[in-house]
């Protein structure tokens, strides 16, 4: 099982390392700074940390010695508009970082607000805006979900063919590329939104997939925790089916998928929209092992009463599928070593957690 995981928090990056039967962490990197995304590149061992400095903008750092030292990189940025447009874009959040395929050493993808995708081919040293997506006319129909502007939070790279990409955009639906980002198409038939007029509820371009997660051994299986429910695709995000009447709730942000079993997934449900807290103040992780036919709320080791909210990147599973880690906006942190059946609380006093990620 994984021996290291990272916690991207409102006040720094914490690294937890296995210490016998326990976990050990020290002082965070970037103390006091909001860490919006963290990525361990398992191809070369580098660790990337994206910061969202409240005053001084988005920054990106890379460590080549597992956090002992960091190098500040030039972060993704838009080119300066030639016409001096006052509304010209500026990156205001690096929301997701993902590695390219195993056959693409040094390739890193960054999903940002406002609704753009950037690519680096040199380990994050320089970045290129994917204009083929940015220039799509449909982008003007996207809108903010959680933030004022739309953002790309999920970047899935098909390890069978690293040119095949799938994006999750809040709120801009699901987009796919079969040619490494040269061209894009809007997919996601079957997704449904309640926040649009009835005749627009199935409009693909305004869907709010809170998080997409693909099965590592079966990349065609993509689970989606959507604003309006739980959805599953068996064809790589082309189409989705919905699971309704899932208790305690179908709303949530995070989803994780077993790396070897596409029928097993975990979600962190809550009361939707204006509440965003656990149902009946009882925190559970909802687990399915049969491809969504049934979901079983797992509560052993999780608090009650609880007002924890688990953000979309704050639930992760390791390569065995047995070890999970979950963090909340209340600064609580849990791990599980039995596939999410029982949970152990590691901390009750961390800063608000944006992401957890195994190293």
């Amino acid at each position: 099982m994984a021996e290291v995981f990272y916690v991207a928090s409102r006040k720094g990056l914490f690294t937890y390392r296995r210490n016998g039967a326990d976990w050990k962490t020290g002082a965070p990197n970037f103390l006091g700074e909001p860490v919006s995304a963290v990525l361990k590149d398992k191809r070369d061992g580098a660790v990337y940390a994206a910061l969202n400095l409240g005053h001084f903008g988005c920054k990106l750092h890379r460590s080549d010695d597992d956090g002992a030292s960091w190098k500040e990189l030039t972060p993704p940025a838009f080119a300066k508009a030639e016409d001096g447009d006052e509304d010209a874009p500026s990156v205001n959040l690096i929301w997701s970082l993902e590695t390219g395929g195993d056959d693409e050493p040094g390739v890193i993808w960054a999903g940002v607000n406002p609704g753009a995708l950037f690519k680096s081919e040199d380990h994050g040293e320089s970045w290129t805006l994917i204009e083929s997506l940015w220039n799509r006319e449909e982008r003007k129909g996207w809108f903010g979900g959680g933030y004022d502007q739309p953002g790309i939070h999920s970047v899935l790279v098909d390890q069978r063919d690293s040119k095949k990409l799938t994006l999750g955009i809040s709120c801009g639906g699901v987009w796919k590329s079969d040619d490494g980002g040269t061209s894009w198409r809007l997919t996601g038939d079957g997704l449904r939104s309640d926040y649009m007029p009835p005749d627009q509820s199935q409009d693909l371009n305004t869907q709010d997939p809170h998080r997409l997660a693909a099965c590592a051994s079966d990349p065609d299986t993509i689970w989606c925790q959507h604003h309006n429910g739980i959805f599953l695709s068996r064809d790589g995000g082309e189409t989705f089916v919905e699971f309704k009447d899932v208790k305690p709730a179908v709303f949530g942000f995070a989803v994780a998928v077993h790396p070897k079993d596409p029928d097993t997934a975990w979600l962190a449900p809550g009361i939707k929209d204006e509440y965003r807290v656990p149902v009946d103040a009882k925190l559970v992780v909802n687990k399915t092992t049969d491809g969504g036919k049934t979901f079983t709320p797992q509560s052993k080791g999780l608090p009650e009463p609880s007002y924890d909210l688990v953000y979309r990147h704050a639930l992760d599973v390791d390569e065995t599928g047995d070890r999970l880690v979950m963090g909340s906006t209340t600064g609580n942190l849990w791990t599980s070593d039995d596939g999410g059946t029982s949970w152990r609380q590691l901390s009750t006093h961390l800063p608000p957690i944006a992401q957890v990620a195994f190293g």
Binding site: L53, G54, H55, F56, G57, K59, E72, T74, P75, A77, F78, A79, K80, A81, G84, D85, E86, A88, P89, S90, V91
Partner: protein
């Protein structure tokens, strides 16, 4: 030349000692500073070279009014202060 100084909060991220810089507008003065300290640009300005939303620049005792083109005039004897706003934290 105008005397430019930076909030201590920026020193946490990168060196930016007080600097005498030529120029008759805030833009000109800051560009002169950035020539010698390129990484500082992204901390003070956004992708479009606008003043970041939660950064303030004062000329002597007065906050600049043009946060987009940084066209406020600067005199040779002016002091320019780059501050962290109280918002944005």
């Amino acid at each position: 030349m105008a005397q430019v100084s930076f909030t201590d909060n920026l020193q946490k991220h990168l060196p930016c000692p007080p600097k005498a810089a030529p120029g008759d507008t805030v833009r000109a003065v800051m560009e002169a500073v950035f020539v010698e300290n390129p990484p500082l640009r992204g901390y003070v300005l956004d992708d479009q070279d606008r003043l970041r939303k939660h950064v303030n620049i004062f000329i002597n005792d007065v906050a600049i009014s043009d946060r987009v083109t940084l066209g406020d005039p600067v005199a040779e004897t002016d002091r320019v202060f780059v501050f962290q706003a109280l918002s944005g934290g």
